[in-house]
């Protein structure tokens, strides 16, 4: 504490030790000032900003050098949207105490951000413009301007108050009440807001009879009444010729509206998902499936080609197998090479053991396929066969020829054909065997075979008597 007269620091005495002036009352004043500061601080802490403003102003009336009170006053002004007044208080505070002063921080915070400062100034200008509109009677423009102001600085108390007044004037009670509620959130004991709220409540609660008109042009004209049919949560009033029912609890309406908006938003989201996102997902999935189908088709083609190739190989192998089986049958089966060899060996064995048993030898020789002897057999087989045939062939030929002729003379031409055929086979030089074989065919009226046999005679024994006779028979047979 400093002496108000000389500025020297005061002690516990009731006088200044420097200028000797009495400071008893001064100390009381300073004490009262501090009490008011504390009161202002308490009120500011509970957002009773109006009360804080009064206390801090009184504090500074008693002690203009109270730096903390001035800083707090600036802060309260700033909270209420009165930026210039806040800056003034902080500037004065800084001049009173240049060091260790929180006002310095506040000022630096604002001055270091030119954009913020410009925005604050623009807010003030717009509010002034709105107030000018009100003075000029352009209330709609004022409302628009105030909405802009509040969008820039939602804590501008005076703008809320003015907007509430405009809503009250236009009998928009719900909106007015909302603005007043916002005022009271910023400043819980704001006198104007409380008074307007009270006025609205009284107007809505103590209204006269329905259909009553307002008393003046600029007076709130609505005459309101509680309807018997309307619930306690709503009130009904007459505005001109219109009966308006408005709920008391606007917040419930807000809640319902919020839920409605939420449901609409969800619906829109689902619609967007259904019409925009889902088709894209389906298309993407279809593209994936098509790609997989393509890959699978390619694999199927490759496997089909492999199967065809394998089937071709199987067919080739089956053909080869059949061919080999045929060859094996040729060697092993009836009339096969092995059997021919076996028969020849049997014939040779019999010839060696009992050369006179030519008929037995003949049995085995006849089992040998004559075609295989010439085409498929080996040289040794052919040589052995020819050797054996040379040894016993003439005898066999003679025996078969004799048997054949006996049968021929007996008229058994069938047997004659068999015997003479063997005789011709074992003795190719026996022209009689051939000739009588042909005769046997002729007797049996097997003309074609007879002609062939006669032609054989002409071929093997040309220019012989038998050949001439054969030709004669051929002529006869062909003439028939």
């Amino acid at each position: 504490m400093r002496c108000y007269n000389c500025g020297c620091d005061l002690t516990g005495h009731n006088f200044c030790t420097n200028c000797k002036v009495d400071v008893t009352n001064y100390k009381l004043v300073i004490s009262a000032s501090n009490l008011l500061y504390n009161d202002g601080l308490e009120k500011a802490r509970v957002r009773d900003l109006s009360g804080a403003l009064v206390s801090l102003h009184q504090c500074l009336k008693l002690n203009k050098n109270h730096v903390d009170a001035r800083n707090l006053l600036g802060l309260v002004y700033f909270e209420l949207g009165e930026s210039v007044q806040a800056l003034n208080e902080w500037v004065i505070s800084k001049n009173l105490q240049s060091k260790k002063n929180v006002a310095d921080d506040y000022l630096n915070l604002i001055q270091s951000n030119p954009g913020k400062l410009e925005a604050l100034n623009a807010t003030l200008k717009k509010f002034n413009q709105a107030l000018t509109y009100c003075y000029q009677g352009s209330l709609d423009l004022a409302v628009i301007q105030l909405k802009k102001v509040l969008s820039m600085n939602p804590k501008y108390l005076q703008a809320h108050q003015l907007l509430a007044l405009l809503y009250i004037n236009s009998e928009e009670w719900g909106k007015a009440r909302k603005e007043l509620e916002r005022c009271l959130k910023i400043d819980i004991n704001n006198t104007i807001a409380l008074r307007y709220t009270q006025e609205i409540n009284q107007t809505l609660g103590e209204s006269g009879t329905p259909g009553s008109q307002g008393k003046g042009k600029n007076t709130v004209k609505a005459s309101l009444t509680k309807s018997k049919n309307v619930s306690d949560e709503a009130y009904q009033y007459q505005s001109g010729n219109e009966t308006i029912i408005q709920p008391y609890k606007v917040s419930e309406g807000k809640t319902v509206t919020s839920i409605g908006n939420l449901i609409i938003g969800i619906g829109i989201g689902l619609a967007v998902a259904w019409f925009l996102i889902l088709p894209a997902r389906i298309q993407h999935a279809q593209a994936g499936v098509n790609e997989e189908m393509k890959v699978v088709s390619e694999q199927l083609d490759v496997k089909s080609a492999t199967i065809n190739e394998l089937e071709s190989k199987v067919k080739a192998l089956e053909n080869e197998k059949q061919k080999l089986e045929g060859q094996l049958d040729g060697f092993v089966g009836t009339g096969g090479t092995l059997e021919d060899v076996n028969n020849l060996l049997q014939a040779v064995r019999i010839y060696i053991e009992t050369p006179e048993e030519v008929m037995k030898i003949s049995e085995y020789l006849e089992k040998i396929n004559p075609e295989s002897v010439t085409e498929e057999s080996s040289e040794s087989f052919t040589a052995l066969y020819d050797l054996l045939l040379g040894e016993v062939g003439s005898q066999l030929g003679e025996q078969y020829y004799a048997a054949g002729m006996d049968a021929y003379q007996d008229g058994d031409y069938e047997l004659a054909v068999q015997e003479l055929t063997r005789a011709a086979a074992y003795d190719a030089t026996n022209v009689d065997a051939y000739f009588n074989l042909a005769n046997s065919y002729r007797k049996l009226e097997r003309d074609m075979e007879a002609i062939a046999a006669y032609e054989k005679v002409i071929e093997l024994f040309p220019s012989t008597e038998k050949a001439n006779r054969s030709q004669s028979y051929i002529n006869e047979l062909t003439a028939e």
């Binding site: 108000y4 008693l62 009165e82 210039v84 600029n218």
Partner: protein
């Protein structure tokens, strides 16, 4: 009953940043100590 015109008169134009300096100079910073000093000074002058 709220009178719009009367209520409107209670609203004042806000100070803008450009006006801050002038407002600062115009601000009356006199406190009770200044008044006491002034009163004492006048009393002394009257005695003389």
């Amino acid at each position: 009953m709220i009178n719009f015109e009367e209520e409107l008169k209670k609203f004042h134009l806000s100070l803008e940043i450009e006006e801050a300096e002038d407002a600062l100079y115009r601000k009356n910073l006199t406190d009770i100590s200044d008044l006491v000093v002034e009163v004492v000074k006048e009393a002394k002058q009257n005695k003389e």
